[in-house]
Amino acid sequence: MKTNSDVDKLVAHCLSQLGRELSDLPASRRRQIVEEVSSHIAEGLVALDTEDEAGVRSVLDRVGDPSAIAAEAGAAEFRPRVPRADALVPWLLLLGGFVFVVGWFLGVGLLWSSSTWKVRDKLLGTLVIPGGLPGLVLLGTFSWRTSSTSCGGVSPLGQRVVIHCVTSGFSLPAAVGILVLILALLAPFAVAVHLERVRRRSVNNVHG
């Protein structure tokens, strides 16, 4: 003879499994199905002569596999086709470089393997700016050094090179240099925001 709490535990386990299987459904649909299955089980238990473990299990067996119920509910159609990892990409590209640089490469990997973004977005995300914010800082300090040691050498992508070389060669107003620096600082943010907006749009398309 099972005690009531054992029966409750078996039933609760079955219902929580069902809830998980239905987790992609809109909440109202999920609630209605779980509620109905729950009262179905209650009716089944009332109909039993003796509430022993075999009886309870037979009631649950007859209810069937939660995954079959989820399949009938069309849960697969509600499963996000946009990979959840996509949500990480803008963050990894912007800040991932702080995590031993690996974070940024991970971001690039996820970016290119996802179908959420077009090639244009992928190029933008990769090239503006390699390494993200920490990459920018590195580039800045690197170019500062190279430019102050040998101004003739051109460092790749370093905006500061321009400022310093300019002082020895052509003369451009310092304001232009500062403007370029500000733009370089804003660019990674702008690209991250852009990638995030593309992602949200594609999530909405799937669910709309």
Binding site: S39, E43, G74
Partner: protein, 119 residues
């Protein structure tokens, strides 16, 4: 005779069920309203119609969304209140259309199967 793609029993059975089952639900509701447990047990006992009693509930929810049935709560003497399902006018129409098509379909399949086994 060429062998076709090996078929998975559960797939064709599920497809066959899907179309027939919801109209069996409508048929059960033709003369009186019923609650979920009652519908599920009746269909499960009819043999082969339900994969598991619980799968009736997503189906009932869909019929309700499509306006083929509507529901009311009623108190029960034995347990929790029950949600009763009733056929709507739209549901009645869907049922009678299905009945016509089903008879043609069933006769057609039977004829083909009989001819094949007689030959």
């Amino acid at each position: 005779m060429s062998r076709m793609v090996p078929s998975d029993d559960s797939i064709w059975l599920a497809q066959l069920r899907r179309g027939a089952l919801e109209h069996c639900v409508l048929a059960l509701l033709r003369h009186r309203e019923r609650y979920g447990f009652e519908l599920a047990r009746t269909l499960a006992d009819a043999g082969g119609l339900l994969a598991g009693e619980g799968t009736i509930y997503p189906l009932l929810a869909r019929l309700r969304r499509n306006g083929l049935v509507n529901t009311t709560w009623r108190e029960s003497a034995e347990g929790p209140p029950r949600r009763y399902y009733r056929l709507t006018a739209v549901g009645e129409l869907a049922l009678s259309t299905f009945v016509q098509h089903w008879q043609l379909f069933r006769d057609g399949v039977d004829r083909i199967l009989e001819e094949a086994s007689a030959a």
